[in-house]
């Protein structure tokens, strides 16, 4: 990870704070699109977003926001029919097509007693807020 702007590559950062499937899907597609378009993508996982990346994410139950409560089965059916990929697959594809780093928030790790080993291997490193601010210097930053 570079700090400063020596590389000239545009940076695109996402703070994924929420673990509902709609937000994870959106974040994963944005990450994939940005990576495809040559941005250096930094994904910072915190709170619910980080919890969603615990091992077994592919098979974990879908969490929907309040207004869609009770629609899990219906949505699962639509997603199967329309071949919608799992958000974790989108993040993995994002890594295949471009430069993507997935980082875990140290505070959340601490709060929930999480270890690196509890997380999906796509999560590359654990960082604190100052380091996040450093590596996202000059980046477009989205909070999801």
């Amino acid at each position: 990870m570079k700090s400063g702007n020596g590389s000239g590559q545009e940076k695109f950062a996402l703070i994924v704070e929420n673990g509902t499937v709609d937000k994870l899907m959106a974040a994963s597609i944005l990450a994939a699109g940005a990576a495809a378009m040559g941005k250096e993508v930094l994904v910072f996982l915190t709170f619910g977003g980080l919890m969603a990346f615990r091992k077994g994410a592919m098979n974990a139950p879908m969490v929907l926001p309040n207004e869609f409560q009770g629609m899990e089965q219906h949505l699962a059916k639509i997603m199967r029919e329309k071949n919608v990929p799992h958000w974790l697959q989108n993040f993995q594809q994002a890594k295949e097509v471009g430069e993507v780093k997935v980082l875990a928030c140290g505070a959340t790790m601490d709060m929930f007693d999480l270890k690196r080993d509890d997380l999906e291997p796509i999560v590359e490193d654990v960082v604190g807020v100052a380091r996040f601010i450093e590596v996202t210097e000059g980046a477009q930053i989205l909070f999801i």
């Binding site: 994939a32 699109g33 495809a36 378009m37 040559g38 919608v84």
Partner: protein, 82 residues
């Protein structure tokens, strides 16, 4: 389905692939192709209509054409330029 007017090295059928699928499949196919190869992607996904040309511009390949070989299907013909 109507064939392409271009000479195609490889055609990928990404119909039924959900966003950003067709774009991702195109990128993967071009990675494995040789410079000068022509890759075509079939897509029914509405996002692809803008995604694929945008990516081709950014990646500096050549979009040879966008065809409509059938109903609600587009064929994006891309030459690997570098």
């Amino acid at each position: 389905m109507n064939p392409s007017v271009h000479q195609i090295s490889r055609e990928i059928d990404a119909r039924g692939s959900f966003c950003p699928g067709p774009l991702m499949e195109l990128i993967r196919a071009l990675k494995g192709a040789t410079i000068g190869d022509t890759v075509a992607v079939l897509s029914g996904d509405p996002g692809s209509a803008t995604d694929i040309p945008a990516w081709v511009r950014k990646a500096r390949h050549e979009l040879l054409g966008v065809e409509e070989p059938g109903e609600s299907v587009k064929r994006f013909v891309v030459r690997k330029s570098r």
